[in-house]
């Protein structure tokens, strides 16, 4: 996704603005997934997310002139996608109030993680992958919005702290605090389902993956 050289991108943007509008297709192609998944993870509704992703791209096209290049193009797109997701969330909520929303102040509060000393064992009791995926998506959706937004950008989209802060219009410290809180909430919600599912085993001080080749990027990120 970030393989597109920034210079090419800047040139593409300039050409689209100069009238070669068809190049917009090419410009956004690397970010199709980013935009859809961002909205989907917030809403957990496929048709809303798809429609939202389309609206995001159309909006990006119409407002392309306002992109100044002070942020990365991807971050700019994510900002639009996040606003689109929020707008749709508001709309859905005006019908059904979400009682989880106001969960209190920013402080870490009293948090107790799920304690499972034996979670690495017993693969036979593992849920099917599909079910786990569903559980994970559901758990993310139940996070209070401000935590969910940070989690989606940092841990699903793998934006860095600064990009996340910029996309959400908050500072880096708040990104860290909210991310920690979101992760701990998810740990509590999901740890009971993780027995044997992870595919990762610890051998001494190192981690090894079972049955599946490691993907460079996130593997390095979590297993240094």
């Amino acid at each position: 996704m970030r393989a597109v050289a920034t210079t090419n991108e800047a040139a593409l943007i300039a050409r689209v603005l100069a009238g070669e509008t068809q190049l917009f297709h090419e410009l956004i192609r690397p970010y199709e997934r980013l935009v859809y998944v961002t909205i989907f993870a917030i809403l957990k509704n496929e048709s809303e997310a798809e429609d939202g992703a389309q609206e995001t791209m159309i909006s990006a096209f119409r407002n392309l002139r306002s992109f100044r290049g002070e942020a990365k193009f991807s971050t700019w797109l994510v900002t639009i996608a996040m606003n689109e997701a929020r707008r749709r969330l508001r709309k859905a909520k005006s019908a059904a109030e979400d009682s989880l929303e106001e969960i209190g102040p920013e402080s870490d509060g009293d948090f107790t993680p799920a304690v499972l000393t034996d979670w690495r064992e017993i693969p036979s009791q593992a849920l099917e992958r599909k079910e786990l995926k569903e559980k994970l998506q559901e758990a993310v959706k139940t996070l209070p919005e401000k935590y969910r937004e940070v989690f989606v950008l940092r841990d699903i989209e793998e934006l860095n702290q600064e990009e996340t802060a910029s996309a959400l219009g908050i500072n880096v410290t708040l990104v860290k605090v909210r991310l920690h809180r979101a992760r701990m909430m998810l740990q509590k919600l999901l740890a009971p389902y993780l027995k044997g599912q992870s595919g990762f085993v610890k051998r001494g001080q190192t981690w090894e993956m079972q049955g599946k080749p490691a993907r460079g990027g996130f593997f390095r990120r979590w297993f240094q």
């Binding site: 070669e20 917009f24 998506q137 793998e158 992760r183 701990m184 740990q187 993780l194 993907r215 979590w222």
Partner: protein, 82 residues
């Protein structure tokens, strides 16, 4: 620096992101070596993040890209093309 479990929990995220300073990192690591509970919490959190970042966890709907570009084509068309 000796840490209790609940203090270690506060630093799990920072630990996973490699953001702890040297002193805190050493204290957390020392605690983890001898605490099965905190090790399991750390491991399960890390596994959730690995699953989260897996492309298979959040998949694109079939035909998404085609529909997106089709809709865009209609919009871009109205702006003249090259």
């Amino acid at each position: 620096m000796k840490l209790e479990c609940k203090h270690v929990w506060e630093h799990i995220s920072g630990y996973l992101d490699h953001q702890l300073d040297a002193e805190m990192l050493a204290a957390v690591q020392k605690h983890l070596e001898s605490c099965e509970v905190c090790s399991a919490i750390l491991d399960s959190t890390r596994n959730i993040l690995v699953l989260t970042a897996d492309d298979q966890t959040y998949e694109l709907p079939v035909g998404y890209s085609e529909r997106l570009h089709e809709r865009l084509a209609a919009v871009l068309g109205g702006h003249g093309s090259s």
